[in-house]
């Protein structure tokens, strides 16, 4: 019906519950949310491609948005000029938050000062069975980390990754990594900053390490669905999502990093500029998805 926007999102329920009432208040539109796993969003959108039901896709990994740009309608929100341009990849979607990749450490098992600080240290065989990671063939973030390693070590990339992988235990999803670390199933885990932050704030014995020889930061994005039932509403939503007040709320209350240059990072996190951010090379540079996955399988010994 009029005035209602259908939003597919991979945002956590708690975030949705915090933010959406604001949207409805501010715009007078009604939001109808379908919350899904990040990979399910596009499966759903693609199945419905004949008669799309969604207007907006909200907070989904940038690489996925790019991959499915045929389903998206390019739209530049009002405040586009405030967006940190390092995160802009494709005109079909707009960066919405930045995701920083970190190492989470269980401080009961491994005091923070003894924890590795670099990828190079992580490769050490003494960490065998101590590093939780999601699977690169399932999780986009694990793939990001793989790409990071490959980028950091250059030609030696696959060798190093193979050594690193022999220290891994795999979790079923990237979301489960910090939980494994917090529970003590393993002492370290490769995860996302905001995920780990939640545990730290929740009082888990956990510390966060930003690896000094290369930390990746990638955008999550928001985009308009091509042929959606209420494109105007969708655009309003994107404008709202990129607005300064929303982005501030996101950073302050929720702990995610804004892509706006005029919004500071969440409390207790280093500034982006203080991190050794590297520009992660795209998959294409390593031979494309299939080849990377094949090499990855060899690397993890499957």
């Amino acid at each position: 019906q009029d005035g209602s926007v259908v939003i597919y999102t991979a945002h956590k329920a708690s975030i949705v519950d915090t933010l959406l009432p604001l949207f409805e208040q501010e715009t007078g539109l009604k939001a109808e949310v379908v919350k899904l796993g990040s990979s399910d969003v596009f499966k759903r959108a693609r199945a419905e491609a004949g008669a799309p039901a969604a207007d907006v896709i909200w907070s989904v990994t940038g690489s996925q948005l790019t991959e499915n740009k045929d389903l998206l309608e390019a739209y530049q929100p009002a405040d586009f000029d405030k967006v940190d341009q390092q995160f802009v990849v494709d005109p079909s979607w707009t960066p919405y938050t930045a995701v920083v990749y970190v190492l989470a450490v269980n401080t009961d098992m491994l005091p923070l000062d003894q924890a590795p600080k670099t990828w190079a240290e992580l490769v050490d065989p003494k960490w065998k069975g101590q590093i939780v990671s999601a699977r690169a063939d399932g999780s986009g973030s694990a793939m990001q980390q793989l790409q990071t390693v490959l980028t950091v070590f250059g030609d030696e990339g696959w060798d190093k990754y193979t050594q690193l992988a022999s220290n891994f235990v795999f979790s079923d999803s990237s979301g489960a990594v910090p939980r494994f670390v917090a529970d003590g199933e393993a002492s370290m885990g490769l995860t996302l900053e905001d995920n780990a932050l939640e545990y730290v704030q929740g009082g888990a014995p956990m510390g966060i390490v930003h690896l000094t020889d290369g930390t990746a930061a990638t955008p999550d994005g928001v985009a308009l669905v091509k042929g959606g039932p209420n494109p105007e509403g969708g655009k309003k939503f994107i404008d709202w999502a990129m607005s300064k007040s929303t982005q501030e709320k996101l950073a302050m209350d929720i702990g995610r990093r804004s892509v706006r240059t005029d919004v500071a990072g969440p409390a207790g996190t280093p500034n982006l500029s203080d991190l050794q951010l590297i520009k992660v090379k795209p998959l294409a540079d390593f031979g494309g998805v299939d080849e990377v996955l094949a090499k990855w399988r060899t690397a993890i010994g499957e």
Binding site: V33, A53, V169, G175, R179, A182, D183, Y199
Partner: protein, 546 residues
Amino acid sequence: MPRFNFWTLVLIFTWLLLLGLLFVPVGSVLVSSLYDNAGNFTFANYAKALGDERIRRAFFNTLLVGFGGLAGALILGSVMAFCVSRFQIAGGRFVSLLAIMALVSPPFIGAYSWIVLFGSAGVARSALKTIGINIPTIYGLSGILIVFSLKFYPYVYLMVSGALSNVNRSLEEAAEGLGLTPFQRAMKISFPLVLPALSAGGLLALIHAIADFGTPRLLGRGFNVLATEAFTLYSAEIGSNMSMATTISVILVLMSMIFVLLQRYMSRRNVYHGNMINKPHKIRLRGWKNVLAHVAVYGIGLAGAIPVIVAVIYSFRKTSGPVFQPGFALQSYERIVFGLGDVVTNSLTFSVASVVLIVIVGTLIGCLVARRTTLNTSILDGALMVPYVMPGIVIGIAFIAAFNTGPVVLTGTALIIILSIFIRRLPYTVRTTSSALRQIGPNMEEAAISLGYSPFRAFMKVTVPLIVPGIIAGAMLSFVTAINELSSSLVLYVGRTMTMPVRIYLLILDGDFGTAAALSTILLLLSGTAVYIAFRFLGRNEQALL
């Protein structure tokens, strides 16, 4: 002849149903495995799958966990069924309830609970370590097999205990009189006689074991099976490969179909009608035997319910964000109160509606299949096994594709979810009904017919009352699985039609275990209440549920 007409109508109706709700939608999805990304017809996906060393290993691993899980489920399920149906077990109903509850183990919470207890830093494992007992972690093949056994034994238990309590008592007594110990007697007489039920229960366990990806994914630590492969290919954020995922699903489905047909072939030759009059007594055991039986029954029941118990306990733990803190609180419940009414109502209405449909349609089809054996009904019976073995997510996707546009638009409605649950769970009731029917000799119906009842009325008056316990047990199983249905509704839900399992799943994705546990506990409570009502309903015949 009127009977011909009636059953012919049922037959035609069933075929239409399958056509509309299954073959057309699902067929188009499956056919996609025969096209490459460019849209050309090819067998390349299959060639690739078969040629891939990794998939071959997954294939054997699948068989390994499938049959390992099957063996475990058969042992646990039959031991429990035998004890409960032959011995007086204090609180027998409670045990049945435990078994049913084990089926209500909400998605993903199950395996996680095992890690909480027996992972590297597992609570139970650590506790044991402090008293000097070192047990291995739950990870790896043996862990998967243990969890599968405990997860799927209720299927065997529910089917077998029903059949066991219908075995003609004289047969067992005859064997005992001939000098067989009770154990030998069980092996040589009781179990062969309930083989159809045993194999039906075993089949359910087997199919679920080979289709389950959550457990191997969480506990496998590198141990891959076809289901995890398919799931990974399907759900990968990067490099997802729908047609390959579908290809593997098809392989999985074909494999399951083979087992289905095998089971049908096996049990077709073994149809023994129970004697509904001379039912077995329950013996009161004494001394150590009594203790042993109780330990076995409660041991299995409680072990199977561990995930549920852990979930309940964790739902009351104090949390801070996703992190559990010492002490107990109702925080998790407070957090789900918002919008709880809607999901509860949705879950209840969807599952009740689909169960009502399932019971009516399923009973009719079950009778058709069991009593009118023609080539047509045999094929129908086989075809009905397709939704039985079809991954829910495939059905969900297929439904969206089929009902999003075109003549019937259903996406976003409650009906589409109800129909998807209906078609997925229909085979259960068909199975339970037809296996209950096969226990009843045709002579009762013949007696009624000779007294002037048309076959249909004879059936309603004599056979149906006799299989009502079976139907109710089947309905309960359907209800419990329907209210827990996740994989297809996850694809089909919209904001208005969110159900509890969907919400639980999403909470788990968010890592919000406490809240998920709270919602699971409520789900458990609802399922438990339904089961309890069913118990009350069958009040004077508690055997019925066993």
